[in-house]
């Protein structure tokens, strides 16, 4: 038996489709893409044909309106087989959320249907060389010039960079206002003065492209401004509230995949005349892995449902807890999976080697684990202060 999370019939369909694609389309190619570090366009096309890009997008923009839950179910299922290829989809969601959250009707109509259909993938550009955990340290500027903005600067580590068509970019419109001087823009590939820098070579998620974006007097019309001037940081934070469960789902999927591999291997591998799964210490390792994964899943689904209910304005604490817990569980589970495989786990002959490399990123991007803890603590303090008033 598996834990029953009362998924709706349509949610179960989403899972089934994602599973079929993961097994039939991704599994045969995962080692290829990991080794070649190519962008997995042929699989992106499969996602598009199966409507997987559309689950979380509202129906009026060509989606299915299945919310953050719809997104995490897809990402989790795909990542059970491969933690990198699904990032084309998950990072597209990261680029779509700011438009969903603060786009005008016109902007939503212009950009979201192509994202839902998978015709265009998206990206989210917040990080810079000198501004990682502290986004307010960014130096990219957007200067107003009549009906236009002129952007200068660069963004580092942008997932889907170069491969995406639609970019949500954060830049300073008013230096003197600090955190309130950041604004958010939609850029399109091909905008004048918008170029791509180097592509990172990485430890894991190698099928995902991570590039530098460079703006050299990049001139865009003011209709590309998302929300109002100065709202950028709030848009970024609200986006992360919605998207961090996606990273958690990636982590959870990878962890689940690793557990399955570990159980399978432990039953087959014989040492001292018996399958290693008969050793109680191995059984206990597997038991801990399974329990932590289930706890992570319960937290993830609960947060996703809470976000989708729309009952609260912000879910920063819950999203941070979810991402923190799921990503740390993924790191622990994949490390132990390699341990159970022994020396074989350290080789590319078995998938757990890659799973451990892929898992690591989930404790880093969209805020490191330390930053999640800061966020959780900050909210605890706020809640305490409100209560004691």
């Amino acid at each position: 038996m598996v834990m029953d999370y009362m998924l709706s019939e349509e949610e179960q369909m989403i899972v089934e489709i994602a599973r079929t694609i993961a097994i039939e389309k991704i599994k045969p190619l995962r080692d290829y893409y990991d080794e070649k570090e190519e962008f997995p366009w042929d699989i992106v096309k499969e996602f598009a044909k199966a409507d997987l890009f559309a689950t979380y997008i509202p129906e009026e923009y060509g989606g299915f309106g299945k919310g953050v839950m719809g997104l995490v179910l897809v990402v989790e299922e795909l990542c059970k087989v491969d933690g990198a290829i699904s990032l084309s989809l998950a990072a597209t969601a990261l680029g779509a959320f700011p438009i969903l959250i603060s786009g005008s009707e016109e902007q939503k109509k212009k950009y979201l249907p192509d994202i839902a259909s998978g015709k265009k993938i998206a990206a989210f550009g917040l990080t810079e060389a000198g501004a990682g955990s502290d986004a307010t340290g960014m130096t990219t500027t957007a200067v107003k010039d009549g009906d236009y903005y002129i952007l200068n600067g660069s963004k580092r580590f942008i997932t889907n960079g170069g491969d995406a068509e639609t970019y949500v970019i954060f830049a300073k419109t008013n230096h003197s206002r600090g955190a309130r001087g950041i604004s958010c823009f939609i850029l399109e590939k091909g905008d004048p003065g918008f170029n791509f820098g180097k592509k990172e070579k990485k430890m894991g998620i190698r099928a995902s492209s991570t590039r530098e974006l460079v703006f050299n007097d990049c001139k865009i019309h003011k209709c590309r401004l998302l929300g109002r001037e100065g709202q950028g940081l709030v848009i970024a934070q609200t986006t992360l509230d919605n998207s961090r469960p996606g990273v958690a789902a990636q982590a959870l999927g990878i962890a689940t995949g690793a557990l399955n591999e570990a159980v399978d291997y432990a039953r087959k591998r014989v040492q001292f005349g018996q399958p290693i799964i008969s050793f109680q210490i191995i059984q206990h390792m597997l038991a801990d892995m399974a329990t932590e994964i289930e706890a992570a899943r319960a937290l993830l689904y609960a947060s996703a449902r809470m976000i989708d209910s729309g009952k609260v304005r912000r879910t920063s604490k819950e999203s941070a807890m979810t991402k923190l817990f799921c990503s740390e569980v993924a790191m622990k589970v994949t490390t132990n999976a390699v341990q159970i495989f022994g020396g074989y786990g350290y080789t590319k002959e078995y998938p757990v080697e890659k799973m451990m490399r892929d898992a690591k990123i989930t404790t880093l991007y969209e805020g490191t684990s330390q930053i999640q803890k800061n966020e959780i603590a900050l909210n605890l303090i706020k809640e305490y202060v409100t209560k004691s008033k």
């Binding site: 369909m13 044909k49 409507d51 559309a54």
Partner: protein, 262 residues
């Protein structure tokens, strides 16, 4: 261009067991799936529609449970589906099945192409497709491996043969039975799956399609299964020669000449 695809629901062979006493499949608790060859048939039908328009109608003769197989074909792109179901169809052999299916096809009418899988996974006779064509008095091409050309007047297909393939041209209507590998069946999309849940699947019974009760079901089946048995596999292990190349060659030639082969 209207395409009718005939499918069958069969027990999933993944973990099917055979009752050694009766020689029949133990069907209890075994999942039913679309006959694998028929998935290619549905996909090919949908591709024809995507290319030249029209409609893809899927039919199956079977018990009420077979409706789930029809729904799946809708999630894979079919437009409509009919379940041909009646108690009197039970026990049909390939002749009675061909008769009943052809009656249903006549009732539905207005078809240009009928596509069947090359055979069913369980019976594996490959007779029903050609049988339907005969009863409808239309041409058929069996074992099609590729549709080489198609427009609204003409179709040219490659028929798989033991020593290559034949290129065959036909006007419409025509019936094709197709082999696996002719395409790679699409994975149902979310939209397709959701749509298939809501699709209305009509049941056509004996009276509706106007079959002659004497020609369908057990009554219409001249062939009856007398006995089914499981063959014992004879294991004739090969012989392995070892040594250096010369020794192996000598031993092999000796053995072959002893067998009268050289």
């Amino acid at each position: 261009m209207n395409v009718i695809v005939c499918i069958k629901q069969v027990p999933s062979l993944a973990n099917v067991k055979i009752d050694l006493e009766t020689g029949r499949f133990k069907r209890d608790g075994i999942e039913s799936v679309i006959n694998p060859f028929d998935k290619y048939a549905v996909e090919e039908g949908v591709r024809i529609r995507e290319k030249i328009g029209g409609k893809v109608i899927v039919i199956t003769m079977g018990p009420p449970q077979a409706e789930s197989a029809l729904r799946e074909t809708i999630s894979r792109g079919a437009d409509e589906a009919f379940l041909i179901s009646d108690k009197i169809f039970g026990g049909s052999d390939t002749l009675a099945t061909s008769y009943t299916l052809s009656s249903a096809i006549k009732f539905i009418g207005n078809y240009d192409i009928i596509i069947c899988g090359k055979q069913a996974l369980d019976g594996a006779t490959a007779q029903v497709g050609p049988g339907v064509a005969e009863m409808l008095n239309i041409p058929h091409v069996a074992h099609v491996k590729k549709i080489e050309f198609i427009d609204d007047k003409l179709i040219r297909v490659e028929r798989m043969m033991e020593d290559g393939y034949d290129l065959i041209e036909s006007s419409f209507p025509v019936l094709l039975t197709i082999i696996e590998g002719i395409n790679s069946p699409r994975i149902p999309s979310l939209r397709g799956k959701m749509f298939s849940k809501k699709a209305i699947i009509k049941t056509l019974d004996a009276e509706t399609i106007g079959v002659d009760a004497k020609k369908t079901g057990l009554n219409g089946s001249p062939t009856q299964v007398m006995k089914v048995f499981v063959t014992q596999q004879q294991r004739n292990y090969g012989k392995k020669f070892s040594g250096d190349v010369k020794e192996i060659a000598v031993a092999l030639v000796k053995r072959l000449s002893k067998l009268g082969i050289v």
